[in-house]
Homo-oligomer: 218 residues x 2
């Protein structure tokens, strides 16, 4: 077994959702069957969307702190923060299980060629490059709809999981001409019901949780 | 603001419940309003009930690791592990917000004189001494009912939150001749509905979460 370090807090509710997915993905009949998880839920990381230069050093320090506390493998419970993946690997000296890679591979596995991505502008850029590298075609929101998406994300972060937010997210998802959709922001699955979509929804956070349990249980 | 370190994993589900309570107790409209929480969810701590000598050094190392990662104040999301409170303070050099103290003070605040405690044998012993120190009378289960309680706790840790477990816990609670009842094991509130009791239920974990937010928000 390996101890997993999780960089979280972006936002805090999404981190708890990720931790719950880790536990749900673990076949356990007693405490000792679970993997050890060290988590830094740090909501004071400078906003990855509005102050990206300041976020890097903070994430690097968090990663090094988790390594010092006993983490042997790292994961980031935030798609956007994967822009700092190399910096985090370097600061910690630990391997990082990359959520963007895992979600893109899953899109390829379901046989989709045109793959929609719901995420922050930074996450969408990361996904677009990675999908293209696999020979898949990224489908993204236009500028106006992307702005609407960010408005919904900030409402979810403020604790609003109401019907209006759910309808708004479902409307954005339905408008994408794609064969599969990546929920590329940890706030998305908090309000988007896969059953409401006509195409497969690939929940990057859930896929990452399952991979983390598989890697760390060995 | 202060960063909170949480020693968890005893069991893992109870730790997530505690983290959710921390977030719920925080008045927040955006990520940055939340306190930073460093958590070590370590389900591999030797069983506090069956191998108490081995658990201490592991908890001390976890506490020191959290301090090194940036925690400034500690809390333990497990009543039983408070048997190691002094060792944890010493190993980390940090103040510890003591859940046993907080729950006993709450019992005094509600005006109860006879105070029931549902917990592991170690936790019951800690609570009994602390309540007596406040001039209150601890009410505990007899040996047979205590054994039944532990059977229920291990079933909850294995993920069984079913009606049979709920009925069993409610039955134990109802049989205690007390004026208030301390849920002195983090598994108890996962299955015991306060509305089913005729006396106040003091949820030690919830009280600890509220105190942690108050202390760390300053």
């Amino acid at each position: 077994m390996k101890s997993l370090g999780v960089l979280g807090g972006m936002g805090p509710a999404a981190t708890l959702d990720f931790l719950a997915r880790l536990q749900a993905a673990t076949p356990a009949t007693r405490d000792q069957d679970h993997i050890r998880v060290l988590v830094d839920i740090n909501p004071h990381i400078p906003d990855r969307n509005t102050d990206s230069a300041a976020a890097g050093p903070v994430l690097g320090k968090m990663a090094a702190g988790l390594a010092g506390a006993g983490a042997e493998v790292l994961a980031i419970a935030c798609n956007t923060a994967h822009a700092y993946a190399d910096l985090i690997r370097e600061a910690s000296g630990l391997p990082l299980i990359d959520m963007i890679d895992i979600a893109c591979e899953a899109a390829s596995d379901v046989g989709a060629r045109r793959v929609g991505v719901l995420g922050t502008p930074t996450a969408v850029a990361l996904y677009s490059a990675r999908l293209a590298g696999l020979g898949l075609e990224p489908v993204v929101l236009d500028e106006a709809h992307q702005a609407r998406f960010m408005e919904l994300v900030y409402r979810i972060k403020a604790g609003d999981l109401g019907q209006d937010v759910r309808d708004g997210m479902a409307g954005l998802a339905a408008g994408m001409d794609a064969e599969a959709l990546i929920a590329g922001c940890t706030e998305v699955p908090l309000v988007l019901d896969p059953a409401a979509l006509s195409i497969p929804l690939l929940d990057a956070g859930a896929l990452l949780a399952a991979r983390c349990v598989a890697v760390c249980s060995q």
